[in-house]
């Protein structure tokens, strides 16, 4: 038996045994990415857990708990650098709670229909594909312009879109924005919805939405997104544990310990990279995960049957 299996631990809710080192390493790797980019990392840890044999509902439920830990340490690290727009975060959060509750309702309907896992896979492929491609194009253009000596600017103050014509305007000092509260509330609701149905923090939607739709400065985006993720992930964890009994405390604890350590290194590494480099890297990772998931849908599977517990569904 390999050395990895010398420190096996039994996970009571997942009902399986796995090496402590493998789980710690997965937590640390995802935590590093989480701290670096300001994404929750759920889109990585959920598939990784499923690959190691954790039942899908437990993977989703437990990764939401891990998201709380990795995003709170990242959020505190960003807060200490004054990179969190609290006011914007609270507006996002209001929408986030609403979206989470709606999302849980949708999950129950899909489970009864028996198409939850197809829906999850298509959601992942669609969202990761679109966002990864957009970010890749944008960041490549920015890098290209920077090479040519033109200073790129994310903020185009003269430009007014439909976003600026909406009512209920609020002043977000930290982001240097004076915009309607409706778009951030809707973005928050959408991200909360994704958190509930996909078990992800939604940073991969939140970060580009704040940058491209609301024109929030890049340095504030990461911190504000993490701030919102902490609370949405906490709500999702309680709902998953309460309705699906899918939060494994032993698994969550090990992932958290690995994750928070990784996140600290990620946050300090991130402060040494340029914004467009960060976005290019994140785009690459997002596209890789998207391709991997899409590949499984397209290639002829070696086994067309699969087993599931009728109660769990996923």
């Amino acid at each position: 038996m390999s050395a990895l299996h010398l420190m096996n631990i039994y996970l009571p809710i997942a009902e399986m045994s796995e090496s402590v080192f493998v789980l710690l390493g997965m937590g640390a790797a995802v935590g590093f990415i989480s701290g670096l980019f300001g994404v929750g990392g759920g889109f990585l840890i959920t598939p990784l857990l499923i690959f190691t044999g954790v039942p899908a509902p437990v993977a989703v439920g437990t990764s939401t708990a891990q998201l709380v830990a990795s995003s709170v340490s990242g959020a505190v690290a960003q807060y200490n650098r004054n990179n969190v727009d609290i006011k914007l975060g609270v507006v996002l959060l209001g929408g986030g709670f609403l979206g989470t509750v709606i999302g849980v309702g949708v999950v129950q309907i899909l489970r009864q229909a028996g198409q939850f896992d197809l829906f999850i896979a298509l959601c992942y492929v669609l969202f990761l594909g679109v966002i990864g491609t957009l970010m890749m194009i944008e960041s490549l253009q920015t890098v290209w312009k920077a090479r040519g000596g033109v200073t790129p600017s994310m903020r185009r103050p003269g430009e007014h879109s439909w976003v600026h014509g909406l009512p209920m305007k609020m002043r977000f000092q930290r982001s240097k924005l004076y915009i309607s509260a409706i778009p951030p509330f809707l973005i928050g609701a959408f991200v909360g919805f994704l958190a509930a149905i996909m078990g992800v923090g939604g940073g991969f939607v939140m970060v580009p939405a704040l940058i491209y739709l609301l024109r929030v400065p890049t340095n504030v985006v990461v911190g504000t997104s993490l701030f919102q993720t902490v609370f949405v992930a906490a709500a999702a964890t309680i709902l998953h544990a309460g309705t699906l009994i899918s939060v494994d405390l032993v698994l969550a604890t090990i992932l958290m310990i690995g994750g928070v350590i990784g996140a600290q290194f990620g946050a300090s590494a991130g402060s040494q990279l340029k914004g467009e480099q960060l976005r290019l890297l994140l785009a690459g990772i997002v596209l890789l995960v998207c391709l991997r998931l899409g590949w499984d849908l397209v290639i002829t599977p070696s086994e067309i049957y699969s087993l599931a517990s009728p109660a769990g569904g996923s």
Partner: protein
């Protein structure tokens, strides 16, 4: 610095995309079961009297209760027994055939079948079983087909082809008998690849004229609950005797407490997970702020 970070990220991305993932999944090490102390010597067999008393089989398992603790990574149980009034001249004679079947509690199971829809492989049909054993292991002195016919094996639920699978009525009326067979064999195949169904053709060994033993490996994924151990004695294709015993897989210590907590106080369990997460995250940032940045 930035280049080193990028290389590290690419490696992580590759791992996330599943390129390096297979390393994570290897069969778990099984703890060696302690040798049994309770072997009973069979009484000296009578020397071929004119009317022979019928042979009977008696058996027991090495461990009645297997504790599933935080260090649990599967277990091995020893099933041992003896044949009363054994007539075989030696352990190697092959006069009797013994089959040991260890079975987990029946549970509901859903089988999904994928089909191609618009170029994508998606689940197109499902089939429900009301009761399929969570675990099924069969060990015998030689391959079952060599000493017993299919009818007797089927009647007694011996062998992977004879595992009792009760289809749900609403599923059963929808499919043809060929499809039903395909679903059942899919269950057997998938459970076999997960080590939850297994057969060991030479797993039962005679250690004396009447004593035999078999070791059965339980992977860590066997659902916690009662297991039944059944022992069958065959001679020339005839079932002479059978015996049944029970083993219980039980969570113990902190595992038991955590499991009960998650099911009895689900929302509180979620809140504990959140508080634990917040504490871990805040503690880490307090510790690391001084070291980094």
């Amino acid at each position: 610095m930035s280049r080193r970070v990028m290389i590290l990220l690419l490696i992580l991305a590759a791992a996330a995309a599943g390129v390096v993932v297979p390393v994570f999944h290897e069969p778990s090490a099984f703890a060696q079961a302690p040798p049994s102390k309770a072997k009973k010597r069979a009484p000296a067999p009578p020397i071929a009297p004119p009317s022979l008393p019928p042979e009977t089989v008696e058996a027991d398992v090495s461990t009645r209760t297997i504790a599933v603790t935080s260090g649990y990574s599967g277990a091995e149980i020893l099933v041992f027994g003896t044949i009363e009034n054994s007539r075989q001249p030696s352990a190697e004679s092959g006069f009797y055939d013994v089959v040991v079947v260890v079975e987990g509690a029946p549970e509901a199971l859903m089988v999904r079948k994928k089909g191609r829809v618009a170029g994508l492989w998606v689940n197109t049909s499902t089939f429900n079983f009301n009761a399929v054993p969570s675990y099924y292991a069969v060990a015998s002195t030689r391959p079952l087909e060599e000493f017993a016919d299919a009818t007797i094996l089927d009647e007694n639920g011996i062998g992977l082809d004879a595992v009792r699978m009760a289809a749900a009525a609403d599923s059963a009326i929808r499919v043809s008998s060929e499809d039903l067979i395909a679903y059942k064999s899919a269950v057997t195949r998938l459970k076999q690849s997960a080590s939850l169904f297994k057969r060991d053709d030479y797993g039962v060994v005679f250690t004396g004229r009447s004593l035999f033993r078999a070791t059965i490996g339980l992977p860590a994924t066997v659902p916690v609950g009662p297991l039944t151990a059944r022992v069958f004695l065959f001679h020339e294709g005839k079932l002479l005797s059978r015996y049944q015993s029970r083993v219980v897989l039980e969570r113990e210590g902190i595992e038991r407490w955590l499991y009960a907590f998650a099911f009895e106080r689900p929302f509180l369990n979620g809140m504990v997970a959140v508080l634990l997460a917040l504490a871990t995250g805040l503690l880490a940032s307090a510790v690391f702020r001084r070291r980094i940045a």
